[in-house]
């Protein structure tokens, strides 16, 4: 095949990795690179502060919880959410980086969905924030596609054998959000109260919403 002639390896660092120069203490490592980039004017410290503040304080699972609660009380919204999640989520002003193409998958009495990224750590930032440590762990990434039921049991979730498990491995730029089932006994609750029941893990598929006590 002529294609073979095009085989290239366009990395200059493969034999002598620059990162091996870095000190072993990660704090020092980051400080050295950060200071260098700041002094070269390639990054601005106010931008770093704004980014960190955004994902520590403004963007997180509380966003996704509002999407879920709205879908629980508004059947038309739920239809739009399942049909075109990106647009429906944008109705609540959640959009952008790592949520450009959203897909919502619905749990039912017969189907339980769970989301993973086996190749890296793809996660729907605008609705869930940055991923928790366990989501990025080798254990979760390697095992969830092969033994999802065992993995879920470690989160305290035991599924009836009759329930089908659907695992979504985010291998491209689609980002998945699970729509959990509305808990029993919540008929009189409004959207704000319902959002309080929606846990982060229930939107990844490794948990369920809080029960009414």
């Amino acid at each position: 095949m002529s294609e073979n002639k095009n085989i290239i390896h366009n990395h200059t660092h493969s034999d002598d990795h620059a990162h091996s120069q870095l000190p072993s203490d990660p704090e020092l490592r980051v400080k050295a690179v950060e200071t260098l980039l700041l002094n070269k004017g390639l990054i601005d410290s106010r931008t770093l502060d704004e980014l960190i503040d955004t994902y520590e304080n403004r963007i997180g699972p509380q966003n996704g919880a509002k999407v879920v609660a709205k879908a629980w009380v508004d059947e038309e919204y739920k239809k739009r959410l399942l049909n075109d999640a990106t647009s429906a989520i944008r109705e609540l002003s959640y959009q952008g980086r790592q949520g450009e193409n959203m897909v919502v998958v619905e749990n039912t009495p017969n189907v339980h969905n769970v989301v993973v990224c086996t190749l890296c750590s793809c996660y729907p930032w605008p609705v869930l924030g940055l991923p928790p440590t366990w989501y990025k762990s080798d254990e979760y990434r390697s095992r969830t596609v092969r033994e999802p039921r065992k993995v879920l049991s470690e989160f305290g979730l035991s599924l009836d054998p009759k329930v089908q498990v659907k695992v979504w491995d985010s291998t491209a730029e689609l980002r998945y959000l699970v729509l959990p089932m509305r808990p029993d006994g919540t008929e009189n609750m409004d959207e704000t109260e319902l959002a309080e029941l929606v846990t982060r893990n229930s939107m990844i598929g490794t948990g369920l919403p809080k029960e009414i006590k």
Binding site: H19, T35, L42, L48, G96, T118, V165, K166, L174
Partner: protein, 246 residues
């Protein structure tokens, strides 16, 4: 042909590190970053990426290309920082000499000697006032092209049985090893998306049809499948797929 990051289905990993409180209940909230250096490693990676010298696929590939011993030993944000450092050098945004100089100072605890009140920002530098706008726009991978998908919903396909990157030996791809050479069914067509196998190597965006493909658990794992009714869905580009006839 695989790399360590391609770990789906691997044996040997222990229990999921699920955080629990002292009543043994699963904790659903944890701080975004446990240490300040993690926040900084993450933020400088985003800010440096905004300079426009590389794309998301290139940065993913750099993380995947860390030597196996480092990939295993590094924590998550250590991988990010190591890959970023290699990118900064390869794209000539910093030099190795500069890096060595700053590292030496960091080890001696006197990075302050470089402090400069008169830094002139590069024209490309991401400004704080643009952060929300840029995040809100994101980096859409869908492209309007006239490429029509060759598969229909419900079609049976078989995935490539070897690493599908035809352009670069050991190159970036998003077809995991565990799903290579397996029969699946087209579940949905998701328009045409930038093709990582080329984009990660600066070979152009080449947007191509992206499908969600359903695989039965038993097709992927044989007799060791946990439950015959379960399915695994992957988002796969057209070149990863071939038609399958029963």
């Amino acid at each position: 042909m695989s790399r360590l990051h391609d770990m789906g289905g691997r044996f040997g990993d222990g229990p999921i590190p699920v955080p629990r409180n002292n009543k043994n209940e699963v904790i659903n909230f944890e701080s975004t970053f446990k240490h300040n250096w993690q926040a900084k490693a993450w933020a400088i990676t985003l800010a440096a990426g905004a300079l426009g010298e590389w794309n998301l696929d290139i940065s993913r590939h750099y993380r995947e290309c860390l030597p196996p011993k480092d990939y295993i030993n590094f924590s998550y944000y250590e991988k990010w920082l190591a890959a970023l450092t290699n990118l900064l050098i390869d794209k000539k945004l910093i030099s190795l000499d500069e890096l060595k100089e700053y590292v030496a100072a960091a080890k001696k605890g006197n990075l302050d000697k470089f402090s400069n009140q008169n830094v002139i920002l590069d024209d490309r530098t991401w400004l704080a006032e643009d952060v929300q706008k840029t995040l809100g726009w994101g980096g859409p991978s869908i492209r309007d092209t006239n490429v029509s998908p060759i598969f229909n919903i419900g079609d049976k396909i078989i995935t490539q049985s070897y690493s599908p990157n035809k352009n670069v030996n050991g190159g970036h791809t998003r077809l995991p090893t565990y799903a290579m050479g397996r029969v699946g069914k087209i579940y949905s067509y998701n328009k045409n998306h930038v093709f990582p196998d080329k984009n990660a190597h600066g070979l152009g965006e080449s947007p191509l049809p992206l499908y969600t493909v359903e695989f039965k658990s038993s097709e992927l794992w044989g007799i060791s499948a946990e439950h015959e009714n379960d399915s695994i869905f992957l988002d796969l580009w057209e070149p990863y797929l071939n038609p399958y006839k029963d």
